[in-house]
């Protein structure tokens, strides 16, 4: 029997359906081309994702729960879908210089987006878990895509082993949640838990397990051990993807779980606020301290991405702990805005690292020495991205940080704010090490590869414009994007 209303449900799932159909078309297309496969995939994939984004945008008025309540469509879903599309389009083009003859990395990324789309609207534990796996599995394959490279293989193996463990932890925690409430629907779980405030210890265990599973995705300390090794071993373009999109997907999952976190109210003072605050403080501190000693740029950016996950978790600490509606939405805005700025500045940084790796024969910090003299344009671009990651005005990263700090100050969480301040200063130290190598140090004579020719017209050139312009503009004129996010959240 076909349940009533299924027709409407399918309309709501149009973006996912488009993605699925498009993926199949692209798969067939990839068999027809041999030489220019990468290009075809990048163009086709971009068009597909663009279509999905536009269709998602048109879903503004179809707010509600669909598919028997397992998928919810609201402003947040919409924001994440558009975010995933934009990010992945950039990543597809980032892949192109390294994978001109392969189609698989492109297809894997797009299938990851399918998982992310589901995740953005997940309203049910099972959907959430399945979607998260759908994001993870292509990521494992992508990490190990360089089959002949030992480090790539190692990266994939580490990634999948840690991933399997944390998935297990998460599903265990979800089982507890189901046991406590006998439902898998997130709103119902939250409602039942808040009306029946017993069994708090059991809930605490469940939430910690769920947080562990999600924490693995976003490289939250202490579930971050895979991150530097995987980032270093994966092809750089893939690392760029991993550092932004699956991380944002994990945060989307956490965002959907927040109502459940808010119900935690133990008699012995352990609150969701406390748990997430500690996770945030520890994550940013470990990330930043770890980054200080790195000599590989990919590892450095890996640790920096751990630190940034920590900064974003500050926002989640506010969400988990404070029920006030105004503050809740203000913090959501801050988190989403931060994600957008992080997308551009982090992808931009990886883009230049990838370029240097391909032209200078490596991504150790010694390859960047004197880059300001031999190749000033990439060096200046990387400097902009790194200063933005530090959070120095007038760059986008500052506004992201400013909004998060604003939420924190409004919630009167000063201790966490002070920890974040200290972390900002530490992060300046290691970002500036790279800047120093590029501009203040002389080129190492044995490494100099003269005339590597950075051209604005190349794929890298256009991509760098696509990342640097938002990084600059969002630092000065961030009103319009903020308003757009504001409309999606409130």
């Amino acid at each position: 029997m076909i349940p009533a209303g299924l027709e409407l449900d399918l309309v709501a799932c149009l973006p996912e359906l488009i993605l699925t159909a498009g993926l199949l078309v692209l798969l067939i297309l990839s068999l027809l081309f041999r030489e220019r496969r990468g290009q075809v995939m990048a163009i086709g994939g971009s068009l597909l994702l663009l279509a999905a984004a536009i269709v998602s945008l048109s879903g503004d008025e179809r707010v509600g729960a669909y598919l028997f309540g397992s998928v919810v469509q609201d402003g947040v879903t919409l924001f994440f879908r558009v975010f995933f599309c934009c990010g992945t389009i950039l990543c597809l083009w980032l892949l192109l210089p390294s994978f001109r003859k392969d189609a698989e990395p492109f297809l894997l990324m797009i299938s990851g987006v399918l998982g992310m789309f589901l995740l953005a609207g997940a309203n049910d534990l099972v959907t959430l878990f399945v979607a998260l796996e759908l994001v993870s599995i292509p990521s494992y394959v992508l990490a190990g895509y360089r089959r002949l490279d030992v480090r790539s293989g190692e990266a994939a193996l580490k990634y999948i082993l840690y991933g399997a463990l944390s998935s297990g932890l998460m599903i265990y925690g979800m089982a507890f949640l189901y046991g406590l409430t006998s439902t898998t629907m997130l709103p119902e779980i939250a409602a039942k838990l808040s009306t029946a405030p017993n069994q708090q210890s059991m809930l605490l265990i469940a939430l910690i397990l769920v947080l562990a599973g999600i924490g693995y995705k976003i490289a939250m300390v202490p579930f971050h051990f895979w991150c530097p090794d995987v980032y270093e071993g994966s092809p750089t373009a893939v690392t760029a993807f991993l550092s932004v999109l699956p991380k944002a997907a994990g945060l989307a999952a956490l965002y959907r779980m927040i109502p459940v976190f808010q119900t935690l109210d133990t008699s012995y003072g352990v609150s969701a606020l406390l748990i997430v605050s500690i996770a945030s403080a520890v994550t940013m501190t470990f990330g930043n301290l770890g980054a200080i000693w790195q000599t590989s740029l990919k590892r450095l950016l890996a640790y920096s991405s751990i630190a940034h996950a920590g900064y974003i978790l500050m926002g989640f600490a506010v969400l988990a702990g404070i029920g006030e509606v105004d503050l809740y939405w203000q913090t959501s805005e801050a988190i989403f805005f931060y994600l957008v700025t992080y997308l551009f500045m982090n992808l931009g940084a990886f883009l230049i690292v990838d370029w240097v790796e391909r032209h200078k024969g490596g991504e150790g910090i010694e390859r960047f020495r004197g880059l300001g003299r031999t190749d000033p344009i990439p060096a200046i671009l990387l400097a902009v991205f790194l200063f933005s990651l530090t959070g120095i005005p007038p760059l986008a990263g500052f506004i992201g940080k400013f909004l998060l700090f604003a939420a924190l100050v409004k919630a009167k969480m000063f201790a966490l704010a002070v920890i974040a301040i200290a972390n900002t200063v530490v992060s300046l130290y290691y970002y500036v090490r790279v800047i120093r190598a590029m501009f203040l140090d002389d080129p190492a004579p044995e490494i100099v590869v003269p005339g590597s020719g950075f051209r604005w017209g190349s794929v890298v050139g256009i991509l760098s414009l696509a990342t640097v312009i938002p990084t600059l503009i969002l630092g000065v004129w961030w009103g319009p994007l903020f308003e757009w996010i504001h409309l999606r959240t409130w």
Binding site: P393, P394, K410, L428
Partner: protein, 507 residues
């Protein structure tokens, strides 16, 4: 577009133009840069006759001058709001003047000429922007914009230990500014615009004590905020014990950048106190004025003794700056009209005098390629013109009557004495130490037997005189007739003094 917007952004436009000029034409770059700073100076000077010295400003929006307001980020009620009063206008003049004089002083820089001048002009935008901002968010953005160019200017064009000095400067100032960011946000969420009831970054609304609410009613919050701001500004001044970045940065920076550092950037710290800490938290200012005065005294004495112990001429001048900024701290913490006027006049005068001193250090360094005081001797015979102008600068710095330093130091002590007797008496001892190290240095460098190595040193040249003569004229004129600058600030600073020292809310 009003004059202040032009003043702020013409250098930024100049920076872009400079960056686009062909690499093979370093002189085009230098002349463009000179033209840009000249235009800025011309605009600043053209405002001088229009400036109404009777209007007070400070916390009264109506009496700010050349005001421009535009909505920037409505969602957070952030405005592009600029204007000047008697506190900021002298600083704007000082900045425009020093920046203009620094370009000829940088003429000899041959390494990455475009980069140097672009960074320098960007720095000027940051500095002027900071002085004219009336919105705390805008102020913060400009405050931070100064960091990046400064890091590169020290780090790329500096001396042998430039890399260390640059990162030290950057880290110290960033610590201060992120603390300031938190204080700014606390203020934002607890201050409301009386007209609309919205939260606001407008500094003038923040100064209205009746607009404060929420946690700003708690005493310990106000204490924490005061000290958050204190650390942020004290690092910039720099107040002992946050001063250790300064000798490193000054010694390693190229001449023109030392001039800007000592002449303008240090004033940012005391300007921050007067513009933000004092009027926004007047109760805490009164509570901790004694502490500020004590730190001022420590700076005076400690800086002077450190200067005396230096063998490197540039380091000596750097420590003398620490000492002289102590006068400013001491005078403003007295909260008397004379003290406030003295503080701002001392900021202006120290800016011109220390600029001369650093330029003079640059002159001798360009010739001898070292700055060891003991390595010179008998230069009076070789470089008589250089001796003359150095003696003028030294005497101005040690406060010889008839030169500008005397007037402002006198006002500082006059203002501080009724309130902080002990601190002032001890601080006056600093003058003696200052005289001692400056005269001793003069003697070691210029008199005695001429070092045979330097017998053929050329005397000061026309380009160098071009940078020094205007400053020398200002030093002499303001020493005899301080009214042209003192008159600008008097009504504002007297008002600020009343505002801060009166108990209770001032409407």
């Amino acid at each position: 577009m009003g004059p202040l917007t032009l003043l702020t952004f013409i250098p930024a436009v100049g920076a872009v133009v400079v960056a686009l000029l062909p690499k093979e034409r370093p002189n085009w770059v230098r002349w463009t840069s000179l033209a840009t700073t000249a235009i800025v100076l011309a605009i600043a000077l053209s405002l001088y006759p229009q400036f109404d010295t009777g209007k007070v400003g400070i916390n009264d929006a109506a009496s700010f001058q050349f005001v421009e307001n535009a909505s920037w980020i409505p969602a957070y009620n952030i405005n592009y709001s600029v204007g000047v009063d008697g506190l900021s206008f002298p600083m704007v003049l000082l900045t425009a003047l020093l920046c203009f004089l620094c370009i000829p002083a940088s003429w000899k820089i041959d390494k990455f000429v475009r980069g140097y001048h672009a960074m320098f002009l960007l720095l000027e935008t940051g500095m002027i922007g900071t002085f004219v901002s009336l919105d705390f968010f805008l102020f913060y953005v400009f405050w931070e914009i100064m960091l990046l160019p400064m890091y590169f200017l020290i780090g790329i064009w500096g001396g042998p230990r430039r890399v260390y000095a640059a990162i030290k400067f950057f880290l110290y100032t960033l610590v201060g500014s992120v603390l300031m960011l938190i204080v700014m946000l606390v203020l934002y969420f607890n201050v409301r615009d009386p007209a609309t009831g919205q939260h606001t970054f407008n500094m003038l609304h923040m100064m209205g004590q009746m607009n404060h609410g929420g946690i700003l009613d708690l005493n310990f919050v106000r204490i924490l905020m005061f000290f958050g701001l204190y650390i942020g500004f004290a690092i910039k001044v720099p107040v002992f014990p946050f001063h250790t970045w300064l000798p490193d940065a000054h010694v390693e920076a190229p001449t023109a950048i030392s001039v800007i550092l000592a002449g303008v950037l240090l004033k940012m710290g005391t300007y921050g106190f007067l513009r933000i800490s004092f009027p926004i938290l007047p109760d805490m200012t009164r509570n901790f004025a004694g502490f500020l005065a004590f730190m001022g005294m420590v700076n005076i004495i400690y800086g002077a003794f450190c200067a005396m112990a230096q063998t490197d001429l540039k380091k000596l001048v750097a420590y003398s700056s620490i000492s002289h900024m102590g006068y400013v701290m001491l005078a403003m913490s007295a909260l008397t009209p004379a003290g406030m006027n003295g503080a701002v006049l001392q900021m202006f005068n120290h800016g011109t005098i220390t600029a001369m001193l650093f330029l003079l250090v640059g002159v001798i360094y360009d010739r001898a390629h070292h700055r060891e005081i003991a390595g010179f001797g008998g230069l009076a015979n070789v470089m008589p013109k250089y001796l003359g102008i150095t003696a003028l600068a030294f005497f101005a710095s040690l406060g010889l009557p008839g030169l500008s330093g005397f007037i402002s130091e006198m006002l500082c002590f006059l203002g501080a004495f009724p309130v902080w007797r002990t601190f002032t008496i001890i601080s006056i001892g600093g003058i003696i130490i200052t005289a001692a190290y400056l005269l001793w240095t003069l003697q070691r460098m210029f008199f005695g037997a001429t070092n045979p190595k330097y017998e053929s040193l050329p005397d000061i040249n026309g380009r160098e005189l071009f940078t020094l003569i205007p400053l020398a004229v200002i030093v002499i004129v303001l020493g005899i007739w301080p009214q042209p600058v003192l008159g600008l600030m008097n009504s504002s600073m007297t008002y600020l003094s009343h505002l801060v020292s009166q108990v209770g809310v001032i409407p």
